[in-house]
């Protein structure tokens, strides 16, 4: 039985179209995950070898939990696609913060599934109450960053949900602070609510600027903030709570209107920690990340790579059915803990340190980083 990728995509799209609030159907998820695994096993040579080495082949794997997840480093080392790369319509690349010569590549052969996945869950988490809002985007448009999945994502949201006046504020010359501050002031004075969204580190720059200039905006009711991604080397590190504190102080947007998005180049879905969604569904207010119904996130014991006992820290692992033409299972380098509704992201796995006078590779890299400006 050989399935065509078009049929698989159609099945995934059908699941996505049932929306963010569809009941979790584990049987349907499992069935589709196994179909995708069988296809990817057949169509992707390096992945097949990876699975065969583990004795996990489509004839033996009964549950999506047995599908071997691929470490994200594989996107740097191998070409993980099920179709010839020359047919790709997009190639999203990781930033290569640690090694610019080794960037992970995620090829997409149509963006239909990615776009449906991203917009459906964005709407449910960031704009559950409105159809369109003016988007103030702390990011670069895709023509400046053609290989950035975040730029594509932000562009997508701008096209689908942006009211007139929506704009990107990071251009060729970096942050266009004057224009941004003027637009924030204008929106405040016109009583026009906005959605201010973008990279967490860029928020830190803007908030530092507000602090230096003594600026305090009171963005109109209905406004909201969505931030995403880490700080690594891009700005000072700010804990999420402190960031929300600064947003409240300088933008006048309360923490219960601040959404945090978790996404990765290697995935075709995003997870959200959204008080707006929780309020609409009447769920208990507790900071937690939620994956869409077409994905599952589990926490693995780093020692055995088996599912970690509940409440214990481990490595975050995603199964994303929207990853039709790459790999469904992704083993991250992120640390997390499972919650009832999803998971909590605790940060990137920091390098291992030696306990005394030996020296580990991570310490060497850290030391080398210090001496090179």
């Amino acid at each position: 039985m050989t399935e065509r990728i078009a049929d698989l995509r159609a099945a995934v799209l059908e699941m996505i179209r049932r929306g963010a609030d569809q009941p979790r159907d584990d049987a349907a998820f499992n069935a589709l995950a196994l179909r995708l695994f069988a296809y990817q096993f057949r169509a992707n040579g390096p992945y097949r070898k990876y699975c065969e080495k583990r004795g996990r082949t489509p004839d033996k794997v009964q549950s999506w939990l047995e599908i071997p997840p691929v470490p994200i480093a594989a996107f740097k080392e191998l070409t993980l696609t099920c179709e010839p790369v020359e047919h790709a319509v997009a190639c999203f690349m990781t930033s290569g913060t640690t090694n610019p010569e080794k960037r992970g590549r995620h090829y997409h052969f149509t963006l239909e599934v990615y776009d449906a996945s991203a917009t459906t869950f964005f709407k449910a988490n960031v704009l559950p109450d409105v159809d369109r809002l003016r988007l103030l985007i702390l990011g670069s448009p895709p023509d400046l960053m053609p290989n950035s999945s975040l730029s594509h994502y932000l562009w997508l949201m701008c096209c689908n949900f942006g009211a007139s006046g929506s704009s990107f504020y990071i251009g060729k010359e970096g942050l266009e602070a004057d224009r941004l501050l003027a637009d924030l002031r204008a929106a405040e004075q016109a009583g026009e609510s906005v959605c201010f969204l973008g990279a967490s580190f860029a928020f830190v720059h803007v908030l530092d600027l507000c602090g230096q200039q003594g600026l305090r905006f009171r963005l109109p009711a209905g406004s909201r903030v969505m931030d995403t991604g880490g700080f690594k080397g891009r700005s000072r590190e700010v804990p999420q709570d402190a960031l929300y504190g600064l947003i409240g102080e300088h933008l006048g947007v309360a923490a219960d209107r601040c959404v945090n998005m978790y996404g990765m180049t290697e995935l075709s879905m995003q997870c959200y920690d959204s008080p707006l969604r929780r309020a609409r569904l009447g769920r208990q207010e507790m900071r937690t990340m939620e994956a869409p119904p077409w994905a599952r996130t589990i926490i693995l014991d780093p020692e055995t790579l088996a599912v970690a006992p509940e409440g214990e820290q481990g490595i975050i692992c995603h199964y994303d059915l929207a990853n039709c033409s790459s790999v469904v299972g992704i083993l991250t380098e992120d640390l997390g803990v499972a919650t009832r509704e999803g998971f909590r992201f605790l940060g990137r796995v920091k390098g291992a340190e030696s306990r005394g006078c030996s020296v580990s590779v991570d310490e060497m890299l850290a030391a080398a980083g210090k001496t090179t400006p």
Binding site: P71, G314, G351, R355, G356, S358, M364
Partner: protein, 461 residues
Amino acid sequence: MTQPDDSPSFLPPEVEAEASGGQVSPVLVAKVAAHIWAARKAYLARLPVAEIVEILDRAIGLWLEAGSPWLDAASRSIAAATPYSEAMVRLGITRLLEGCRKDALLALLEAELGDPAVLDTFRTRPGTRGSHRARGPAVTTHIFSGNVPGLPAISLIHGLLVKSACLGKPASEEPVFPALFARSLAAVDPKLAASVAILPWSGGDAAVEAAAFAASEAVIAYGSDAAIESIRARVPPGVRFVGHGHRLSLAVIGRETLAYDSVESLAERLAYDVSLFDQQGCVSPHVVYVERGGTIAPQEFAESLAQAMAAFERDMPRGRLSVEETSAIQQARSEAELRELREEPVRLFASPGRTAWTVIYEDDPAFVPSCLNRVVRVKPLVDLAELPNLLRPVSRHLQTVGAALSRERRDRLADALAPLGVCRVCPIGEMPHPPLHWHHDGGFNLLPLLKWTAIEDPAEG
């Protein structure tokens, strides 16, 4: 009589009540230092060095006798406090202290001082005019690391041999051994032990450490480069400082020593060097270079090493790791596996199901430090002559080279690697156990602690 117990402190009885509150203050440190200073003046400073050697040897004997309650207590408590298994702690401490008996103590004194009696009185020296006497610091502060249980004994021995009162700060990860060792000294000679205090304070506490350093004439510290730098910057001018920071070690196997009848034993000895204390020692090898052209190919040797690592793991299981440490192993493994899948010349040998041990064979000869905890890389060498260039990038940190080479080639390699900072070349299987008289990190152990006084005779006309 003094008995082994678990308390991480060993203090003069006069300050014990004050110290029992928990918080260590600069005032407490100053009082402790004053007490051990006075005890030294009254007794230790007047002991002939030969007697100190006898006392130390008797105390170490307590640890090595059959059924020693000291070794039992240390192994049990350290295994509970650190990631290490009891069996490994027991083996490590035994091997370490076996190297600190009377003959080794005398060898150390003679190697560094020639005539150890210069510590007792003015002595004439052949070839010099007049006589000389060496005096150790009145008080030495020791900052211990916790990676190798038992190691604080060496530092205390150095201090006591030069008749210095010793104020020791145990590592937070291994707070047990230093106080136990001090108590075993007290069991042999309470008056000598009155010159020793072990006080756990929180590492880097600037006010407390300032008080300790101000009361000392020397500071000896073990730890990461960052920790050593931080301490060095705070040691006042005029106070002698000896720091042992990050070091990297490796093993080299020459083609002439690769033979079918001996490879198994060689691999076993190397697995011991890698696995003891989970590679956390500065003497633990990160990379094994194997020369091509022998009866056994480098990749075959990697396979033998993997089998030996598995066997060692059965006897001495690796310790518990943090999520970061385990993840680092998983990442190193998946990187190797992915390169294997790309059909690069890489082979991954790994303990199944768990992260207990990992051997990565790769053709790329570049030196890569390990993520530690029993992860070792085997790399081929066309010829030993390549080695200096390969090691140059890490030369600042190089320390021990375990070598399986003919005597002549070993000596030539040592010559070539010495300018890169390699300060010890030893047989495979002995990497974790340098002799007491070794020039640790390339320097003397006792001499940096000493101040000399000379009496010059009039020039003879």
